[in-house]
Symmetry: C2
Amino acid sequence: MKNKTTDCDRCDDIFIHEEVVNEVRKNMPNEETLYDLAEIFKVFGDSTRVKILYALFFAKKMCVCDLAAFVNISQSAVSHQLRVLKQARLVKYKREGRVVYYALDDEHVQQIFEQGLKHITEKKQG
Amino acid sequence: MKNKTTDCDRCDDIFIHEEVVNEVRKNMPNEETLYDLAEIFKVFGDSTRVKILYALFFAKKMCVCDLAAFVNISQSAVSHQLRVLKQARLVKYKREGRVVYYALDDEHVQQIFEQGLKHITEKKQG
DNA sequence: TGAACATATGAATATATGTTCATATTTTAG
DNA sequence: CTAAAATATGAACATATATTCATATGTTCA
């Protein structure tokens, strides 16, 4: 097999199911959207950040220092991760004096979380 | 600041909100669960895999070759990614002669997908 | 059985990313 | 203003991972 990356040279120069591929392509969200979607999930896809998100989900808001204590990594590491979460808009923050409090940005975060947990638990018992 | 990783030495040797941390910790799912959750999202967190998942979501089932054509990467790369998706149980497969068809494993995948998309689109218009 | 096709897999490489260390920035207290 | 506390950030390092190339495995058909 040729292993080229152009569409026409796959599957021995013909599609097995060309219509299927075309149909899927026709209805596809644009590349950028799917890329952004992957980026969002990538942010969820780290155990440190998952713990942070869980803590914020449960406690509503927490300061950086408490998050570091909870997750049990350095303040610096938490801060770096909070930046990632901030950029992905999964988290928002508010300064109160010297302390900065973080909180979940919206309810989607919670729902994505819950679906993920369901997936795990249902698979385990199955 | 000391930057140690033991709980008691954070925030200048005291917690700012020790009760908060303890409360969150008390209700936390076990480490393994949160780790597994992160692993699931990690699998979602790649644009190639997102495209594959989207295609399977839309077309119900597809063979490896068509997926390679659709995503526009090599057959080998798709195959490697399908293995990752398989291991995470996001995808199931069925051999029909020479051709192997892949499909989404369950409905959570779809719901996680949709929540993710909502997050993106709502943020964009906001 | 052997050739051709569809898929899977191992090794290698390049790139991305999480953590730490050191240090900068911001804010309050004195 | 200065010191100290809370947080943020840059550089470096280690690790993870996505892709490709080469090749193996499994399947059908002549």
